[in-house]
């Protein structure tokens, strides 16, 4: 049986008395396609911020790749083999597409402080161009990221995660704001990953989430309230109650 690539135990995060994440437990197995769903304000993005190290935990532990990383800085966690995308596109707007992807590749390969030419640069540039092709941006390599359309920025956002060749990808609403055709491009990219990459995604678009994911956790008020396969989730009454707002009334 595959070991967990993410193991969260008793994870909590408070913001001035607001419990964004409460006593959360979660295991994600290596190679899994796992979606974290829930209504707005459920604590999904905070959960990603805690896993990636962008926010410090209030209590609990985080293990990634079998190692306790609770107090490890965000950039060191990324270097372990984790990449993430953000809810709203966070591309490097003052650089062109190729340089964006080159930096993503460089980030996981080291040599960040190098000021002399190296043989590895050619390989990293090649990886950047291959990634651009994979996310359908090979025709925009020289375009500034600030000049890309919303859909292209989302593609570049995913490209940044891919170029770092991670073992674990956290995708925060990758389909947000995409047109149908752009969403199909994104789904093709996500379905094209082999099992050496574990995918965890937050997504409001159920078509994308339930097509890509095999296992789903439903978050509500900072807790995971239901977990199961996509078939189990589709038929779970509590999930329907949460999404229809009947859960609080019950």
């Amino acid at each position: 049986m595959a070991e967990p690539i993410i193991r969260l135990r008793g994870l909590s995060k408070n913001f001035s008395g607001v419990h964004a994440v409460q006593d959360l437990e979660l295991d994600v197995l290596r190679g899994a396609r796992h979606a974290v769903l829930g209504p707005n304000g459920a604590g999904k993005t905070t959960l990603f911020n805690l896993i990636s190290g962008a926010e410090e935990v209030s209590s609990g532990t985080i293990e990634l790749f079998g190692r306790d990383v609770t107090h490890l800085s965000a950039f060191r966690r990324a270097r372990l083999g984790m990449a993430r995308t953000f809810q709203s596109s966070r591309v490097l707007s003052g650089l062109n597409v190729e340089d964006n992807l080159y930096l993503a590749a460089l980030g996981s390969h080291g040599g960040h402080l190098r000021i002399l030419p190296s043989r590895s640069d050619r390989a990293l540039r090649q990886l950047a161009r291959e990634t651009a092709e994979r996310v359908a941006l090979s025709g925009r390599l020289d375009s500034m990221a600030s000049d890309l359309s919303h859909g292209e920025r989302r593609q570049l956002e995913v490209g940044l995660a891919i170029a770092s060749q991670p073992q674990l990808m956290l995708l925060d609403e990758p389909a947000a704001g995409l047109a149908r055709a752009e969403r199909q491009v994104l789904m093709d990219i996500l379905l094209g990953f082999d099992r050496s990459v574990t995918l965890v995604l937050i997504e409001h678009d159920m078509e994308v989430a339930l097509t890509v994911a095999e296992r789903v956790s439903i978050m509500h008020h900072g807790r995971i309230v239901v977990e199961g396969t996509t078939a189990e989730i589709r038929s779970d009454q509590r999930v329907q109650d949460i999404y229809l707002g009947r859960e609080n009334a019950a």
Binding site: F75, A78, L92, S93, G94, N100, L106, I115, P117
Partner: protein, 336 residues
């Protein structure tokens, strides 16, 4: 279009020619009072422009670092009798080291907070130099002559001018090279989105700290060259007023292009040198120029030039091609 490009190239050749032959074209006074200060003030300003353009950090600590190198070099030369080159090397290394410390202190802040921290560091430097007798207090350290091979900086400034010019060109080329290295591209990523760069595995704080040290080394070189060319330096050389002058040069020239630092330094040097002959309120004139530039063109004078150049090119490209010259009508065949 081609005639415009030709004229543009000609203008560039003329500018480069004037810069290269300046000591032979202009008087000793112009060389020593305008050209030489433009180069070293521009060098200090380019350290600020570089940090701003590629690191997203507007630092007001550059004059403090300028002072660390200039005053230490002067003290080692005059009080300890050191060789000028060795003293300069130690001065620049000290400024780089202090820059690392300043960078470590300021690198976790951004925007206004970064600006205020670096202003505080500049003021701490000023008050420290004002209080330590080894640095000459407000009277400063005099008789800080450059190496003999460069000649007298006041009476025979040609050697110093060319030395400064070479240093400025080397610094400019180095910075242009640096921003295309992995370190430099990552620096621009840090400028655009530090959180994104962290998520890609970059140590953002280390990057900001190191680039601050690069800026410190450049400001330090400017400090040494200032001390040599003025043959003196004091705590007042790094006061708040000088900090503002350096900021004015960077903004007037343009914070988006490295060349702007020297353009701004030239404007400010000309205004401060010749302004008093026309009016006691020349500082107001500099203030008005500064204000006008900030309001009209955030990219400074270089930004105005770039905009004009773009408009002319666009206009020339969109102009319909000239109609062929009508041929003279052939003489009628035959006659009445």
């Amino acid at each position: 279009m081609s005639s415009y490009l030709m004229a543009r190239r000609m203008a560039a050749v003329v500018v480069v020619g004037v810069v290269v032959l300046l000591p032979f074209i202009f008087s000793v006074y112009i060389t020593s009072a305008i050209a030489v200060p433009t180069l070293w003030i521009g060098l200090c300003a380019v350290s600020l422009t570089f940090l701003s353009r590629y690191g997203g950090m507007i630092s007001l600590a550059q004059t403090g670092l300028f002072g660390v190198a200039g005053l230490l070099t002067a003290a080692l030369m005059v009080q300890a009798g050191w060789d000028p080159w060795a003293a300069a090397l130690i001065g620049v290394l000290a400024a780089t080291g202090v820059g690392l410390i300043f960078g470590a202190l300021a690198s976790s802040s951004t925007g206004t907070y970064f600006l205020m921290i670096t202003l505080a560091l500049a003021e701490i430097s000023y008050y420290l130099f004002s209080a330590v007798p080894a640095f000459g207090l407000h009277e400063g350290i005099n008789a800080v002559f450059p190496p003999a091979i460069l000649g007298d900086p006041v009476l025979h400034p040609t050697g110093n001018y060319y030395f400064l010019l070479v240093i400025c060109v080397l610094v400019y080329l180095f910075l242009r090279y640096l921003v295309r290295t992995p370190f430099g591209i990552a620096l621009q990523g840090v400028r655009d989105d530090p959180d994104r760069m962290t998520s890609l595995g970059f140590n953002v704080r280390l990057h900001r700290m190191l680039i601050f040290a690069v800026g410190a080394a450049i400001a330090g070189i400017a400090g040494v060259l200032s001390a040599w060319n003025n043959t003196r330096i004091s705590a007042d050389s790094v006061s708040l007023a000088v900090t503002i002058v350096v900021l004015e040069c960077a903004v007037i020239g343009g914070l988006f292009r490295l060349e702007g630092a020297w353009v701004g330094a030239l404007v400010v040097t000309v205004l401060t040198t010749f302004g008093p002959s026309f009016t006691d309120r020349y500082a107001t004139a500099i203030g008005i120029v500064f204000l006008a530039i900030v309001l009209i063109s955030p990219g400074g004078l270089v930004g105005i030039w770039t905009w004009l150049d773009g408009r002319i090119r666009h206009w020339l490209e969109s102009k319909p091609p000239a109609a062929p010259t009508p041929q003279a009508a052939p003489p009628p065949i035959g006659g009445d």
